[in-house]
Symmetry: D2
Subunit: 342 residues, 4 copies
Amino acid sequence: MVVRAAVAGASGYAGGELLRLLLTHPGIEIGALTGNSNAGQKLGALQPHLLPLADRVLQETTPEVLAGHDVVFLALPHGQSAAVAEQLGPEVLVVDMGADFRLRDAADWERFYGSPHAGTWPYGLPELPGGRAALEGSRRIAVPGCYPTAVSLALFPAYAAGLAEQEAVIVAASGTSGAGKSPKTHLLGSEVMGSVSPYGVGGGHRHTPEIVQNLSAAAGAPVAVSFTPTLVPMPRGILATCSARAKPGVTAETVRAAYEKAFADEPFVHLLPEGRWPATASVHGSNAVQVQVAYDASVGRIIAISAIDNLTKGTAGGALQSMNIALGLDESTGLSTIGVAP
Amino acid sequence: MVVRAAVAGASGYAGGELLRLLLTHPGIEIGALTGNSNAGQKLGALQPHLLPLADRVLQETTPEVLAGHDVVFLALPHGQSAAVAEQLGPEVLVVDMGADFRLRDAADWERFYGSPHAGTWPYGLPELPGGRAALEGSRRIAVPGCYPTAVSLALFPAYAAGLAEQEAVIVAASGTSGAGKSPKTHLLGSEVMGSVSPYGVGGGHRHTPEIVQNLSAAAGAPVAVSFTPTLVPMPRGILATCSARAKPGVTAETVRAAYEKAFADEPFVHLLPEGRWPATASVHGSNAVQVQVAYDASVGRIIAISAIDNLTKGTAGGALQSMNIALGLDESTGLSTIGVAP
Amino acid sequence: MVVRAAVAGASGYAGGELLRLLLTHPGIEIGALTGNSNAGQKLGALQPHLLPLADRVLQETTPEVLAGHDVVFLALPHGQSAAVAEQLGPEVLVVDMGADFRLRDAADWERFYGSPHAGTWPYGLPELPGGRAALEGSRRIAVPGCYPTAVSLALFPAYAAGLAEQEAVIVAASGTSGAGKSPKTHLLGSEVMGSVSPYGVGGGHRHTPEIVQNLSAAAGAPVAVSFTPTLVPMPRGILATCSARAKPGVTAETVRAAYEKAFADEPFVHLLPEGRWPATASVHGSNAVQVQVAYDASVGRIIAISAIDNLTKGTAGGALQSMNIALGLDESTGLSTIGVAP
Amino acid sequence: MVVRAAVAGASGYAGGELLRLLLTHPGIEIGALTGNSNAGQKLGALQPHLLPLADRVLQETTPEVLAGHDVVFLALPHGQSAAVAEQLGPEVLVVDMGADFRLRDAADWERFYGSPHAGTWPYGLPELPGGRAALEGSRRIAVPGCYPTAVSLALFPAYAAGLAEQEAVIVAASGTSGAGKSPKTHLLGSEVMGSVSPYGVGGGHRHTPEIVQNLSAAAGAPVAVSFTPTLVPMPRGILATCSARAKPGVTAETVRAAYEKAFADEPFVHLLPEGRWPATASVHGSNAVQVQVAYDASVGRIIAISAIDNLTKGTAGGALQSMNIALGLDESTGLSTIGVAP
């Protein structure tokens, strides 16, 4: 059986990464590719690294173009997915790589995105407790944000095991592709090379409520989150440095054991041997996640750090992994744990 | 009056940056330059950006070579400064850019550096409470570490004003020059470009006790510090993202007021207008410090972020600023608040 | 005497670099700053590295605003300078950092720029034969392009000494600031980091006729130029790799001698000792030029390579150097030969 | 049939890239991995991006360890391959990724490498005229150098078609991984970020005679080569900018036709549509080659530019492609034409 997949929003970074992965997925046939402002252009001019698709022409994102596919991936600006999804039948697997269906709390959505809440779909982070079950057989998937992916994987084992107090402090560094492909002055190479800068400081970043949602679910109680993202001079990768005060009685051993248990059977999460720490280069272009954790006895805090590729595990790879589960395919099909380094 | 200055360790990054600044200091005559493994070589081959000094030849670091100077700067590996300083008379201003004389607690020194404590010199961070007074007329100065400079300037106003609980969580990003000029595989361009990685996690970095010392002094009580440094792909710059739980009654206004007061008369610290955040590119090559602070009411934490150039304000510029104070010169002589950007 | 200078186009990279230099020029008072699309904004938001000017407000580029200055620098898109210059009296020194007045051949201008030729002003590259004399006392200066500056300094000695055949092959690498601050997709950090790519290949780059003009003048005969610029992942810097077939009888010694003679008294050009080669980092932020030359006997070609900072010697530093000459000031005032490295 | 492959020199960049590719090659079983100075260490500590091999332990490079494999890849410093190869039977396919067996002229070898010539093996660049035939069934392969791969593919069509004069001028930009993983000061991240610099100027680079060999073979007559390599701030990728004077009667059309013919059936070489130019990011991590060519009528030169990934097509991918041919496998097995971008 061949699965026919369409990609709405094929000219951006998320769409391009998804196509890169779909090209090596043995069960997928790449169908319609759309991109409104670039409709009519060849993909070779927009995504020159995707040589096998160089002569494919982008179409408009219309119901007619998207019809006749088994899977439709949406890589659209937030707020646009619901209208497109409505046009697709319930038997079509719709995978939204945008933010529209991630949050369960409508008030959170409205506060952070300023528009009416479109709904909540099964959440595409299989490694979370109960994560796989929610995806099996589903025909709607909300792909997590890149930061929530990195942060949740770093911290949920501590919360699920009841080891951490309910306040997490997170500082994450992201490559520039996370900010998208629309030209903006502050994203120019001249501006970002040689510079590190924070943004969305003080709780303002839209991924904050999603992180709160995931950690609170793991903890079974509300977790407060201080989240500061920073932009660093590289195209890809997220390093999330997360910490929380340990509950009384926690030791380095109990922390290590909780993480070993959480990731024992995970195909993509690599809990590093003690003494080694994640680096984004190691997961460049791969769906792997590097995690390490330590207990700092001098301050009584658990420090958990993860590295992902924001475009792969953080977006398109995570989308494909969840698609595999939803369709009953082997979860790892078309996905690699091998990074492209140096 | 011309001040004659020698630099021991002129072939490394700290020594090179110091020479860059000394060349534009109107009151300084550059005397002996030493560099043991490079003795006999011309500076032009080692520091090709210092064109006016291209034909100067490095000498061995001996008492005879260092004799006859008003100021001797030491840019040596830690553990070597005491032996050199002993040979210099009490009337000579000795400015140690290494770690040897920064810590007041001998046990801290021995735990983190593994050698006997050499002593404690006046600490070269004039912006701290009482910082300038400690330096005036002094003939020995311990230049702070680059991370402690960035972190202490970001957080001391909150502690000095009694606004923050005594646990600080700090994640800092540093350019690679902070790791020095000795060739090591993990510092190769191929390794660092495209990668962010942490090191010294869990309280192991040697700058941790120095940060504890500074924040505790500002608070008048012990402050616990969770400090995680990360290496980012740029040659220079530190961005320190720092936070602490606010004490009851704290508001955004009290926080802002405390920072405005702390930096009102500081020539090098720029508390940014509200809504703008520091970027390391803005202080590239300058002695300026960008600071911004926010109160995140949703989690009750104060977030303070600073950007410095690790080689300038974080090392050589800080050394020169303290030298100016010790010698009774204008504090800003030979120092710039103008960054080289983009 | 204080010279009062205005900068039209203060929000871009050329304008920002000029302001950085003017701030340290002892004889200059910075007057009006204009920037049409950014008029009304504070410079601190647009050029955050220029701390001393943070509160200056940009104005519209009008005759009234520019009136009353001794020097007016124009950092405008090409085609706009003539209209502004016409409004300024003949006693005002107008320094055009754009392309409008560089070319002597009106047909060249029209072919490469597609608009009527505005005229030709004295050319601001003092190191060329006769270059200084053309600038002394002048009240109009055309600042050279960044590539022509790098290439002309690398090759004119070979042509002026009659050592090279009249065909030069040039491949130059430029940092991204040379492409300006307007947001464009292909200049995004995500696109340029990790990539090298050529543009304007095959004689299409607008700096080609300017290079031809300079080399032909040095040779006293038409020189054909094959010029290929490439974009490399760094914010600043140009490395120009230039070669030409040597005329019969040329030896390594005659080549070296010609270059030593050409640059013997030049304050900014550093002909490197034999065996060392230019690197853009060495001239980062400085007005210095590194040049090296070799004679490759196996192919009979002269290879000359230069490194400049495209924003400093290649634009704003070159402008200031020429201004100094025109005004009768010391040529080096406000300019440095010290790079900011690493 | 499963082919069992050993890799001698698995801890360096070439060995690591080869393993990355071998892991996805369906017909290969990865056997012994050796690395003398790192023998006894786990690959996870040395190549953390190769997650599936993290627990493999490096062994010494001895005949016993390398015995029992169908293919042995040698990623050793030059001069060491012959001794190892002698110990392996004639039925074993030995693929040398070093320089030892590339040159046909012993005098060239001795002049550039300073040691006795070890011999000449079939040359692993199948795209050259007669290239595939030389590899079919061979049990010894000399993998080309990274620069000769890029340059030869850019220029051989012009020479094979008799369009170009016998002097080529080449300037190539390479990422830092081409300089290897041994720690050296000038390869530190602090040194290479923000800098472009040439090396081996004037005919001194060891890849020069190999380029001469390839172009002369294509031309059927000696071609003189002026080759200048430069180091640019990125981990991977080569952009080779090549030009030669066109022979009389050459037009843009004849040039284009020659290139279209040369690459019509090549699975890895992508002659770009007219008007688009190569970029190294587009071939990052892939075995693809981007080529474009133009005829600059104003100077009468053919300009050909190619982009490759120096570690993939330039080293390990080229090795695997040649192995596939030698073993009678499909040439593209285990190799991708899809780049990892941005």
